[in-house]
Structure formats: structure tokens, C-alpha cells
């Protein structure tokens, strides 16, 4: 069973390094390129929020863990030691209005929800743990994605 872990400083400079390192592991494990792109988007949004809101620019680290369960489901966990925040508690943003009414911002967590099959937040000791689950096979992925989208 392959297990992946990367720990790096929580700075925007390392965003690309986090994404590159995780993506390499996902590719080795045979996740399709299209799904790797979705994970990249979810992980970027989560990391940028951690750098910006959880640590507010103060020094800190982020850990990303990867594992596979039931031979088919990728479990990706993102851990930070910043301010406690339950990402899953956010209300649905406005994705309907036109140019004039649209407010800037507020799409990051919404995109995360739409890119993964399951999203779970928990506080573990002094760390935030955000768990993303993505099914490898297409069938399961599409159907559960629909479900998540409807509920988001």
C-alpha cells in the first residue's frame, strides 16, 4: 500500500512545489490526468486559504498526506496548525448573478466541493485536517460527484 506525505513551509512560493510533488505521486498510482487536474484545483484552493487565512502570512507548515483505500478511493488529507476553521461550514456562494452583481471572491471552497467526491473537516489536536476523497474509477466518481454538487 503506497502512502505519500509532503511537508513544506506554508508560503505561496511553495504552492507549485506542493502541487508538483502530490501530482507525481497521484500519477505513479495511476490516477487519470483529468482527475489529477481536479485534485490540483481542490488542493490549490485549500492551500491558498491556509496560507492566507489560517496562518495569515505567519510562518507555519502544511502537510499533505495521500493514501488509497478499498483499492479505488484516493484519500488526500491537508493538515495545518493555523486558526481552527471548518471549511465545510461555509454557505453556498452566489454562482448565478451577472457581472454587475457578482462579488469578487468566495469561490475557492465551492470549487473544492465540486472537484472531490467527499469532503470532511476535523480538528485533530492543534491541527485542522481537511480530508478529500476521490474515486479512481469513472463510474463511481461521476455519480457521487453529482450528489455532492447537488448538495453543495
Amino acid at each position: 500500500m503506497s502512502f505519500f506525505r509532503v511537508i513544506m513551509p506554508a508560503t505561496i512560493d511553495h504552492l507549485g512545489d506542493f502541487i508538483a510533488s502530490l501530482s507525481r505521486w497521484l500519477q505513479q498510482q495511476g490516477l487519470a490526468a483529468e482527475k489529477i487536474g481536479r485534485v490540483q484545483l481542490a488542493v490549490e484552493e485549500a492551500l491558498v486559504n491556509i496560507f492566507r487565512y489560517a496562518y495569515r502570512g505567519k510562518p507555519g507548515e502544511v502537510e499533505i498526506r495521500g493514501g488509497i483505500v478499498e483499492d479505488n478511493r484516493f484519500v488526500i488529507e491537508i493538515l495545518d496548525s493555523g486558526a481552527p476553521f471548518n471549511v465545510c461550514s461555509l454557505p453556498q456562494p452566489d454562482v448565478k448573478s451577472g457581472l454587475r452583481e457578482r462579488k469578487l471572491g468566495g469561490l475557492g471552497v465551492f470549487l473544492i466541493r465540486n472537484m472531490v467526491d467527499e469532503l470532511v473537516y476535523r480538528r485533530e489536536g492543534d491541527r485542522n485536517v481537511l480530508t478529500m476523497i476521490v474515486a479512481k474509477s469513472n463510474g463511481r466518481f461521476s455519480s457521487s460527484r453529482q450528489k455532492v454538487r447537488a448538495g453543495a
Partner: protein, 110 residues
């Protein structure tokens, strides 16, 4: 991300290549600010070679469009496909902008 800027008679075309992530978005903001300062008011953003966009990229494009609206200008999109198209669809951004299949179609519309 690479940004190629081409000035046509009807509009300026910004062609994006690569990944428009949170690190690349400020680069788009700077290029867009330069164009506004030069008096350009009609901007076509061509996504033919863009393979990835995150919310930071969406915000940059929305911010540009809002600035242009104040001065009777506009942002038009072309060649939206694949994962980038999907992000525009999910976020409802596809409804905010005029979108053309090809850059030439966008130019012809002006």
C-alpha cells in the same frame, strides 16, 4: 503562465498559456492594468493554450471585467474547453461573459 498580447483593430487579444494559478494571477492583473492604462477598452481573452485555472484566475478576470464595465468596455472569452471550461461552468462565470469558440469569431463580433 505566459501571456501574449496582440493588438488588433477591434480589440486587444490576451492569449494565455499554461497554468493560471494563485501565483500566476497577479501577473495577469499587471498586464491587464497596463492595457487599461494604454486606453484599451475591448479585451478578448483567448484560452486555447490554458490548461488550468483556479479561483484566483477567475477573480482576476472578473476584476478586469468590472473595471471595463465602468468605462463602457468589455471582456470577451474565446477557446474555452476542457477543465478550464468546466471551472467557468461550475462557477457560473460562463453566464457572465460573451464566449466564442474561436478568437476570430470573437473579433468578428465586434
Amino acid at each position: 503562465m505566459e501571456i501574449d498580447v496582440r493588438k488588433e483593430a477591434q480589440a486587444v487579444v490576451m492569449s494565455l498559456t499554461g497554468r493560471m494559478d494563485a501565483v500566476a494571477a497577479p501577473q495577469f492583473d499587471r498586464t491587464a492594468a497596463d492595457l487599461l492604462a494604454q486606453g484599451d477598452r475591448r479585451i478578448i481573452i483567448d484560452f486555447a493554450s490554458l490548461e488550468y485555472i483556479s479561483s484566483a484566475g477567475l477573480q482576476s478576470i472578473l476584476a478586469l471585467a468590472k473595471q471595463l464595465e465602468d468605462s463602457q468596455g468589455s471582456v470577451i472569452l474565446s477557446n474555452l474547453a476542457g477543465p478550464v471550461r468546466e471551472v467557468f461552468d461550475i462557477s457560473g462565470f460562463s453566464l457572465i461573459f460573451p464566449i466564442y469558440d474561436r478568437c476570430e469569431d470573437a473579433l468578428a463580433s465586434l
